[in-house]
Each structure stands twice: as structure tokens, then as C-alpha cells.
């Protein structure tokens, strides 16, 4: 098969797999895809009730802060958790038809992007409310800069996804380990608290600064809502460069692990 044909074939497969995963998520629910918009909203509401007096005292637009953190981290969580089991779950395809195994984590990553798109709608809704009712000027042109970070973020997610998906074939218990790791990771990312609240000389602070998600989230927040107005930063090219560097490194490591183990996958899956 020529390379061009191969690419076309892989594109069709990924399209079908993404369509399948987005569809099956909501197959048996009345509200259907609307859940993707409602879910982050409800989630945010719960967290807002709990945390607004603890972490959000000085932030007039704390709901927006929460929601931005939640939906970005949720994208990472669903992409990587979905990828973890994807090769094993699709063993029916892997052992019976010829196709490239890297397509499964790829489609899991891309379906999380689709869901991220839906969640973004809920973010826009909340921002709109805050602007109209609260009178905060949140919208600005810099929101378009979100598009710039997406490829870097996808590479980052895909790298982790590739790594986890092949590893899971050989070590089925990393599912539990990864869940614990994700919880830890959530707490080590300023999703609902502010990094300013942490003592900058503490060990936690230095770990936080080493966490790639911190930078993805910071850039994301800087883009999404007009922080100028609240006396905070604007999206910086320097951070964006860092995001791409990080994305590429994670992808390369993930792909190397995948390459190394992929040949054995078919007999272990």
C-alpha cells in the first residue's frame, strides 16, 4: 500500500473510532451530548459551593477560574484514562484485522478534544453570565490564542496516552496506580487554589513549578479570560514555547516506548 493510501485509511479509521467513542458515551441518556455541556457546569457548581470561601475569597470571577481548571484537567484525565485500556479493550480488532495500534490512543486523545470543545461551551456560558450580571469585562480577542496551545497540549496528551496504552498491556495493575497518580496530579495543579497561596520556599511549590500541567493551565487561563482587567498576566510567547517543547518531549518519549514494545503487544493483548 502506498503511503498516501495508508494515511487516508488511518484517517478514516480514526474518524470512525472518535465518532464511536463520542456516540457511545451518551447512547442511553435522554439529554445526550448536552451532558458534555452540563457536566462541567454542575461539577463547577459543587466545587464553587465548597471552595469559594476558602480559595476564592479575593477572586470576583472564581467560577471562571474553577471552570477553566476543571475542563482542561478533565481533558487530560479522559484522554489518558481512555487510552490506558484502549489496546486491551480493542483486542478484538487488534488480533483480527491489520491496523496500526497507535490509532487507538490517538482516537482516545482526539475524542477528549471533542468533549473539551463541548465543555468550552459551558465555559463561554458562565463567562457570559459573569459579564452580563456581574459586570466584569471578561471577553477579549486573546481568547483566540487558545487555538495556539491546542496542538502542544494534544502532543503532550498523546505522548502520555501512547506510553500508558502499551504499558497497560504488560502491566494490568498500573490502572490502579495511575488513578492514584491522577489524584495526586490534580492536587499538585492549581485547579481550584491559587499558586500565590503557597509559600514559595516550600517543597510543594518547587514541585508545582515542575508540573507541566501548571504551565498549560496558566497559559489557558491567560488566554480565556481577560486577566489584564484583574491585574494579571497576558498569554506570553515564552510560555507558549515552553508548552510546545514539553509537548514534543512527551510525545517523543511516549512514541519511543510505543515503538519498543508494540511488536509484542499482539501476543500479550
Amino acid at each position: 500500500m502506498t503511503n498516501q493510501k495508508k494515511w487516508a485509511k488511518n484517517k478514516h479509521i480514526v474518524q470512525e473510532l472518535v465518532r464511536r467513542s463520542v456516540k457511545t458515551q451518551y447512547r442511553n441518556s435522554v439529554l445526550g451530548v448536552l451532558w458534555s455541556v452540563l457536566n462541567p457546569l454542575l461539577n463547577m457548581l459543587v466545587m464553587w459551593l465548597v471552595f469559594s470561601q476558602i480559595f476564592g475569597k479575593n477572586d470576583p470571577v472564581y467560577p471562571v477560574y474553577l471552570l477553566t481548571g476543571n475542563i482542561l484537567f478533565q481533558a487530560l484525565r479522559s484522554a489518558t484514562e481512555g487510552s490506558l485500556t484502549c489496546l486491551v479493550n480493542n483486542r478484538g480488532l487488534i488480533t483480527k484485522v491489520k491496523l496500526d495500534n497507535f490509532l487507538f490512543p490517538l482516537s482516545s486523545t482526539l475524542s477528549s478534544l471533542v468533549n473539551f470543545g463541548f465543555s468550552f461551551i459551558s465555559l463561554i456560558i458562565i463567562m457570559f453570565f459573569m459579564q452580563v450580571i456581574g459586570g466584569y469585562q471578561l471577553f477579549g480577542f486573546q481568547i483566540l490564542a487558545v487555538v495556539l496551545m491546542l496542538p502542544a497540549f494534544l502532543l503532550f496528551e498523546y505522548g502520555i496516552s501512547l506510553f500508558l496504552s502499551v504499558l497497560y498491556v504488560f502491566f494490568r495493575d498500573i490502572k490502579h496506580l495511575y488513578r492514584v497518580f491522577l489524584t495526586l496530579w490534580t492536587y499538585l495543579t492549581p485547579v481550584f487554589y491559587k499558586i500565590e497561596a503557597i509559600d514559595s520556599s516550600s517543597a510543594v511549590y518547587s514541585i508545582l513549578k515542575l508540573n507541566p500541567m501548571y504551565y498549560y493551565l496558566t497559559y489557558f487561563r491567560d488566554c480565556v479570560y481577560n486577566m489584564n482587567y484583574l491585574g494579571q498576566g497576558v498569554p506570553s510567547w515564552k510560555v507558549l514555547g515552553l508548552l510546545y517543547l514539553c509537548g514534543v518531549v512527551f510525545f517523543l518519549v511516549g512514541f519511543a516506548v510505543y515503538k519498543g514494545l508494540n511488536k509484542k503487544v499482539i501476543s500479550y493483548v
Binding site: A8, K9, H12, I13, R20, G92, K96, V97, K98, R172
Partner: protein
Amino acid sequence: MGQNNNDYLLKIEDLDMQFKIPALKINTLKERVVNLFKGKKIKAKTLQVLENINCEIKKGESLGVIGHNGAGKSTLLKLVAGIYSPTAGKIDLKGSVVLLNLGAGFDMEANAEENIYLNGAILGFSRKEMKKRFNSIIEFSELQDFIKMPLKNYSSGMISRLGFAIAIDVHPDLLLVDEVLSVGDANFQKKCIEKIKALKESGVSFMFVSHNIQQVKNLCEKTLWIENSKVMGYGSSQEICDKYLEYCNNKKN
């Protein structure tokens, strides 16, 4: 051979296939670590599935593959389809190939419609192209009333109908058929065999794994008989099939 050297569609040379099977299957991190401390070495057993297979299929010609269960027939088809890569030897295929075995490329949670698109994508066709073929596939499979039903509720006969209908609609150069006709009912089997004959006339080659010796005799010019991973016979279907039946009878007595 001389001038005819190049008009084969598939050529298999000195093919060997081994599976490495660990004596005890370890697939968790915990077990790995425990074993490391115990100092146990995990020995892998090597299983010879195919040994020194040689055969050839010319364009428009069909090859039957017979032998007892576990002889290595399905593995051979999977090798030709490119799902496994051989331990040693060469498989030279000049054209497109589709492997048809029960439930291949299907998602049991999805319905027939979704599976036609998924399966089509795996075979290299876009949704748009598959839409054009959709009606003829459904018509051939006679599953009009079950389009929206998840495949997990299908009978094995219905699944094989769907698989067969898709595979014949995409016209590969070589169609590998692994035991799928045997689960269909008599009417559908007859319909399939007629379709296979028509496809053969239009230049499609087949490779059949079947336990229905009469069918192999009827449809294939040549037959490959595998027993215990080795070739027991290769040649004209008439001759090889008779030998095989004789062998089976002798074994019984």
C-alpha cells in the same frame, strides 16, 4: 518456470512461525516485582505453529487450506493478511487483501450500520464511499430489519452474513475466508458460493480455510494440507482432498 515467473498474486517461501508463550502468564507489575525478589526466571515456551510452508496463488486462482483443528490454518491466513509477522521466510503479496473471519473488525457494542462504516474504514474506505455501498451490502446480507441492533445480539450466522457482504463488496485482489460459510444457513451458503464463483470469474482470488472438503474441491484449483504445522500435501484439490479423507478414515480405524 521462465516467463510465468511474475504473474503470481501471492507467493509464500519457507515460512516459519513461532509463538513465544510464557510458562506462566505475568501481566501485572506486582507479579513482576514479586518474581524479581523470589529470583524466579520466567521461562518462555516456544510453540512452532507453522514450519517451512511454501505455496503460490496465481491471479484468479483459489487455494484451499485444510487440516485438523489447531494445525495452523488460521495463523497462516493471519500471516498473509499481515496481522502477524513471520518468524522466518517470505510472504510476497501483489495486491490488496481482506481477511474474513468470524467477527473480524466488528465492534460488538455497535449496530450493523456503524460497523459497516468502521469495517469499511479498516479496509481503507471513507464514510462517503461506504455510503454508496451501504444498500448493496445490506441487501446481500438480508439484514434490513436488524440495521439498528447491536451486534452482540446477532447470531453468529448473522455476523458472518454481514462480514461476508462487506468483504465481497470491496473487491480485494485476494479474499481470505476463514470458516465463515459454515455458520450460515443453507440458503445463504448457496448464495455465497454463487457470489464467490462470480467473483472468481471477475479475477478475485480466494484462500479458503474450510472443513467442508466437498466445497474446497468445488471452489479451489489447488489445496494446501497442513497437519501439525507442517505441509502434508500441496497440489491439485482433487488429489490432496482425497488423500486427506483417506488419512482421516485411517486415523479413525
